[in-house]
Symmetry: C2
Subunit: 221 residues, 2 copies
DNA sequence: CGGATCGTTGATAGGGCTCAACTTTGGTGG
DNA sequence: CCACCAAAGTTGAGCCCTATCAACGATCCG
């Protein structure tokens, strides 16, 4: 059940992209760069994408991670406002912006759907800004891990959750440094709250305590 | 030229509200509280509004300030996600969410308009999150003052810009404390970059230097 | 004039950043 | 299969920016 089931194939979307009847497959595929003409909307079918904004002086923010079901391409004017690439092999549905607007004229439900997706996007960004505004490093990391578990449907104890992004991505998403992310993850493991069996995944051992930490850092022990 | 010119009068929107043929007038009027049923969209006609999120432990974030032309009420599901009140005497146009969705069915242009307003809202929140993610106190404050000047059409040297929000509001918007805001504003004044003639307003004396500070804190002198 | 709120200024401390070294992981080629 | 190397992650020491706590000054309104 996709938003753009019958969309036309997009123009070649970047290096190493493989187009397949309205879908794009590839690992580390670049969907688009900042400044590119924002003429396509994407819906993630499989895999995880990363939206990155790079400042002139090299500072970086990972604006969002996009999971299956998420729409990429809102919040831009005529040009994309950040880079977007895949962290894993991935598939997307693509649709031209013009086509979608056209389809909206004949199908009012699509308009409502898009509007509510946009509202969801706004809500997500508000949550991020609240996190960045007032939370400590530990609160941010605990909250981030919980949100990953929730998005992948593994929000329970002792389930292996995939962590496709590296420490630098997490740091640049949460407004921290690699070292601070690493130290706090180590601390969480030392307290038995999470486990880090391999690179690229984690396991929640005590969801309740993790939730407490995400709310207030005073759960310190 | 308003988005909801013929909207019906809203239900009484809060204490000290005065309703007037589809408009609401009042100072410190509360438009809505977090948790209220999100059934109305507002367009600011006059005045300045403040959207505030309060955490269980008392921490606060001012999610946004809304100026004339801005739409309030996107990014919520069924219930509003934050409080909203007026910082100054203000007028708004109000429209029921259902009405707007209904109107969208007959007027596809309205749909596109709403979608592009939502996109603008997303962009605003992305900018805020980038600011909160990677910028120093001085960069945040310089950038904030510039954005206020731009929004009120006074983005030039030696114009008096209204500053309707108090230090606490600015601090809670930028993720800083009252003291840090105060100190940095004082520093800007000491360097001749801005002037603070009265409470409730400021004047940009050197827009170029203020712009530099907003980009990189290394303009330190 | 007096009180309350808002804003400023000072002293101190702490959380996270910076710089740096080291360890682990994963991939590559002999 | 193993040695080697680059990239990713961890750990440590020290410092800086901003928060915190506290006192003081300014402004507004009765």
């Amino acid at each position: 059940m996709y938003l753009f089931p019958n969309a036309a194939p997009p123009a070649n979307a970047g290096r190493s992209a493989v187009s397949d009847a309205g879908r794009v497959v590839g690992a580390t595929t670049v969907l688009f760069h900042e400044g590119d003409s924002a003429d396509t909307l994407y819906e993630v079918v499989t895999g995880v994408f990363r939206a990155t904004k790079i400042f002139p002086d090299g500072r970086r923010q990972v604006v969002a991670f996009a999971y299956p079901g998420d729409i990429i391409g809102f919040g831009h004017g005529d040009a994309y406002r950040f880079d977007c690439d895949a962290l894993t092999p991935a598939r997307v549905h693509a649709a031209g912006r013009g086509e979608v607007l056209q389809a909206m004229r004949t199908d009012p439900e699509l308009g409502e759907k898009l509007l509510s997706m946009a509202a969801g996007e706004v809500a997500t960004m508000q949550d991020l800004s609240m996190l960045l505004c007032r939370k400590s490093a530990m609160e941010r990391i605990a909250g981030f891990l919980i949100s990953l578990a929730a998005r992948t449907g593994k929000e329970a104890n002792d389930q292996r959750v995939s962590l496709p992004m590296c420490r630098a991505d997490i740091a640049d998403h949460l407004g921290l440094t690699i070292e601070t992310v690493s130290r706090n993850m180590t601390k969480l493991r030392a307290r038995g709250i999470i486990d880090l069996p391999n690179r690229g995944c984690f396991v929640i051992r005590d969801l309740n305590r993790l939730r407490q930490l995400a709310e207030s850092e005073t759960g310190t022990r």
